[in-house]
């Protein structure tokens, strides 16, 4: 007997349909899987035998041939298990109806016949729906994730036997109820809040500006000054993700297998902190399967590089292209995949190897050469992509800050949301969404400076010894400050404030 069962597989973040064809004939007992099946698929033979047996069915003692069509595309992962089992049971006529042809099957089998969750369900379902498939049978643990996709009829099962009973018409299942994104958005509190940070007024303000305009930011300060804490607060004041953004993020996280099964969708903006020993493939994406890297996992969120000069130089340089293009192309022998990588870069660093350069309280023991080598790890082109550079300082605030009421993330977020809205309207026809992404032409158009501003800029440059390439950065940041201020035009005070956020230039220029 021959059977044909539908399954789905992923290539990057796009899915494609796979026909699982099973033929059972007389001959030497055994099972052969063909069609460029990877190791995990080949290994499923053993899982199939046990799972079928332990679910109360008979594993046919005949020659079983399984073909995964199209046969010229590489397939890997355990998500074919369920489809293979259904194929064998249908071919051996233990499934008695033709109902199984209506569904797409996804799921991994455990030896006792239970269904285990698989990675990448969200992108699989999205592709499948686009290609006209809308009925799915999935492991129960993947149900939450699948519930967000419109236009689907998803049945979640716990065991193989349940699947067979359902197809044979012995039990009735109700499809998984759809969840709306809005409902899940509500219950996702962050575990940090801006009001937890005492003092650091300058840094907080800079972070607010950075988030408003989508600017990358560099936090400089001695160890223990609270750079990481500040960075962690950044997602809490970023605008809520739209459903489309959430789906994009969830797709990537689903492929990487880091999706939280309880929520099924990523509602919080990602905050990724790769360790400084991270390799280029870990950061950018790669491996035999061309998996997404940290820059893609941080898509629509924050990529935080703690102690940036500790990263290997070539790893940092690899960030330049995704920072520019907002996506990465990962090419490997078997596949080439485009992953989105639109993240906000937040970096922190000590001012020198010992951390005390310019400190009030401790003496810096580093030689100028050491400091230069340390700073030299961050190249000019990379620094050029960081609009704000601020100093985070290590002081005890008890005296003068306990009095002031501290703003919560919610308060700050109201302002950043407003500034984002202004930008959205401004760039509606330009394909950009925030000030940081303005091109030179756009700067000319949207950031006209009056004579006073020009004069101020010129004077500040001479006085503070700023580098020429700081100009566009200062103007972009001034545009964002003006937006926060609700002003149509950039005025002197906006320029003046923007100049204050060039600490790196000022600190190391003399």
């Amino acid at each position: 007997m021959l059977s044909k069962v539908l399954c789905y597989a992923l290539s990057g973040i796009e899915g494609f349909d796979v026909d699982v064809e099973t033929d059972i004939s007389s001959g030497l007992t055994g099972i052969e899987i063909v069609g460029l099946a990877g190791t995990a698929v080949k290994e499923s033979k053993e899982r199939l035998r046990s799972a079928i047996k332990n679910s109360g069915f008979i594993y046919p003692a005949k020659k079983i041939t399984i073909n995964l069509a199209p046969a010229d595309t590489k397939k890997d992962g355990p998500s074919f298990d369920l489809a293979l089992a259904v194929g064998i049971l249908a071919a051996s006529e233990q499934i008695v109806t033709r109902e199984y042809k209506k569904y797409v099957f996804l799921g991994e089998l455990s030896l006792d016949g239970k269904l285990r969750a698989v990675c990448g369900v969200m992108p699989l379902l999205i592709s499948a729906v686009q290609q006209g498939y809308n009925r799915f049978i999935l492991p129960a643990d993947n149900a939450k994730e699948a519930a967000y996709i419109d236009g689907t009829e998803v049945y979640a099962c716990d065991r193989l036997s349940e699947v067979v009973d359902f197809i044979n018409g012995n039990v009735q299942l109700t499809p998984v109820r759809h969840t709306t994104y809005e409902s899940s958005l509500k219950n996702c509190p962050y575990d940090v809040d801006m009001s937890d940070i005492k003092g650091q007024t300058v840094a907080k303000r800079a972070v607010e500006i950075a988030v408003s305009g989508g600017h990358n930011i560099l936090l400089m300060g001695p160890p223990g000054a609270g750079k990481t804490m500040l960075a962690r607060c950044i997602p809490t004041i970023m605008p809520d993700m739209t459903f489309e953004e959430a789906i994009e993020v969830t797709k990537i996280h689903s492929i990487a297998g880091i999706l939280d099964g309880d929520t099924g969708i990523v509602t919080k903006r990602p905050f990724r902190t790769p360790h400084h020993t991270a390799t280029i493939p870990a950061l950018i994406g790669g491996g035999a399967k061309a998996m997404p890297g940290e820059v893609s996992l941080a898509h629509n969120g924050v990529l935080f590089l703690d102690e940036m000069p500790e990263y290997q130089r070539h790893t940092l340089e690899a960030l330049r292209q995704p920072l520019e293009d907002k996506k990465v192309t990962v090419s490997r022998v078997q596949r080439t995949v485009d992953y989105p990588a639109n993240f906000m870069l937040v970096a922190s660093m000590n001012p020198c190897p010992c951390g005390n350069y310019g400190s009030k309280t401790a003496e810096c023991k580093c030689t100028p050469r050491e400091i230069r080598n340390y700073l030299g790890k961050i190249s000019g082109p990379l620094l050029d992509r960081i609009d704000l550079q601020i100093e985070v300082d290590n002081v005890s605030y008890s005296e003068f800050t306990d009095r002031t009421a501290l703003e919560t993330s919610k308060d700050v977020k109201e302002r950043t949301d407003r500034a984002r809205e202004i930008q959205r309207l401004r760039f509606a026809d330009n394909g950009t969404i925030c000030n940081a992404q303005m091109t030179n032409a756009m700067i000319k158009k949207f950031c006209p400076l009056d004579d006073n501003c020009e004069r101020l800029l010129k004077r500040a440059f001479e006085k503070l010894n700023l580098s020429a390439r700081a100009t566009t950065r200062i103007i972009k940041v001034a545009r964002t400050i003006a937006d926060l201020d609700g002003q149509e035009n950039i005025s002197e005070k906006h320029i003046a404030e923007a100049i204050q956020y060039r600490s790196y230039d000022r600190k190391f220029n003399d």
Binding site: G199, T201, V202, K204, R205, G221, P351, Y357, G358, S359, K360, E363, C364, P368, R369, R372, E391, D393, N394, V395, Y397, F400, T401, R403, T404, R459, A460, K463, I481, K493, A496, E497, I499, Q500, R506, K507
Partner: protein, 363 residues
């Protein structure tokens, strides 16, 4: 027989590695160097008595091989003038010191050798305070027309050279290596700037001499010797600056020192010196200039600025001590962004200065 003048003879003597300061001075005690080398065979016995016969042979060999032309070519290529102690251009100040340098290699404006001046030296790892003192004092010295001599090292020295040039004054750098070597290498742009803006480089070492450790204390006697006074903004206890101070004391120069924070490691030497010689204490550039008898104009009045209420409040606070941004926020009641604007304007008007870690001080 070839005739040598004094400068030529000293250039030749410098090519012999074994003849350093002491032996050279002993040789010069025999006769003037030109005479000595022109009639080398006549003085043979006395010379051998000082440098031994091996070195004497080397010296004769150097004369025979006519090394002089090469030496002169090298000097010409680097734009260097060699000035011997017998030269009219040699500074009188320097002749009076113990073991004066017999030959000076000079690059730049050699008239500065005879210009009235003050030497400024200090620690390499200077504090913000030390650097500020250096800048403020040197600026006034330059305005009063003094040449500022220093050692081209990191920290205070570099600041002294820069500040003199910034104030459109002249400056002399005395270095411990050959003039073709820039040490420390990161000061290469400063070297160019000093030469371009009419400064002077001086060394007693032949071209190609590396900045060896033992050159520095020797060099320090020239720094103090070139000027009539020595100003020390900030120094550690164990340092080249202390050696320079000792030279200055021996040479009978005036020494001026500013007091510093007693907890500041980079200024421990300053405070120790002050304890020993309280007469050296100065509190302003005018103290130094008065002591040296240099006329100086009344300090130019800063343009009167109309201050607003916040600026006055900030000045009032900073007059007491430096303050952090947070303190200023608490005192003025302004928002972070408003205060950023106020302090930026004050900074632009030279009223205050932002130091690291978001602290502010009066300028």
């Amino acid at each position: 027989m070839t005739e040598f003048n004094d400068t030529e003879a000293l250039l030749l003597l410098n090519t012999i590695d074994g003849i350093r300061l002491k032996r050279r001075h002993a040789l010069l005690a025999i006769a003037r160097p030109g005479e000595l080398l022109t009639r080398i065979d006549y003085y043979r016995e006395k010379i051998v008595g000082i440098i031994g016969s091996d070195l004497f042979e080397k010296l004769k060999d150097a004369l025979r091989r006519n090394l002089l032309d090469r030496e002169k070519d090298d000097l010409y290529k680097h734009g260097i003038t060699a000035i011997s102690v017998y030269d009219a251009r040699y500074p009188e100040n320097l002749k009076e010191i113990y073991e004066f340098p017999a030959l000076l290699y000079c690059k730049g404006d050699i008239s500065l050798l005879k210009k009235r001046g003050i030497s400024v030296v200090g620690t390499r790892n200077a504090s913000r305070y030390g650097l500020n003192v250096t800048r403020d004092f040197v600026t006034e010295f330059s305005r009063a027309g003094l040449n500022v001599t220093s050692g081209f090292a990191r920290g205070i020295d570099t600041m002294a050279h820069k500040s003199a040039l910034d104030a459109e004054g002249s400056t002399t750098a005395v270095i411990a290596s050959g003039l073709d070597i820039c040490y420390p290498a990161e000061n290469r742009s400063l070297e160019d700037r000093i030469l371009k803006e009419g400064g002077l480089f001086v060394s007693e070492y032949r071209l190609g001499t590396a900045p060896a450790q033992f050159n520095f204390p020797e060099r320090n006697r020239i720094i103090s010797g070139l000027s009539e006074a020595l100003f020390v903004p900030e120094t550690r206890i164990k340092s080249g600056t202390m050696i320079t101070v000792n030279h200055a004391v021996e040479q009978g120069k005036d020494i001026f020192i500013v007091p510093a924070n007693i907890n500041q490691p980079s200024a421990e030497g300053s405070n120790l010196l002050l304890k020993q010689m309280q007469g050296a204490l100065v509190l302003s550039p005018d103290d130094v200039l008065d002591e040296m008898g240099v006329p100086h104009g009344v300090k130019e009045q800063k343009e009167t600025l109309q201050l607003n209420i916040y600026e006055m409040k900030i000045l009032e606070i900073l007059e007491k001590s430096e303050a952090h941004f947070e303190e200023l926020i608490a005192a003025t009641g302004l928002n972070a962004n408003e205060l950023q604007n106020v302090v930026f304007n004050m900074e632009m008007n030279d009223l205050i200065e932002r130091t690291s870690g978001n602290y502010f001080t009066l300028k």
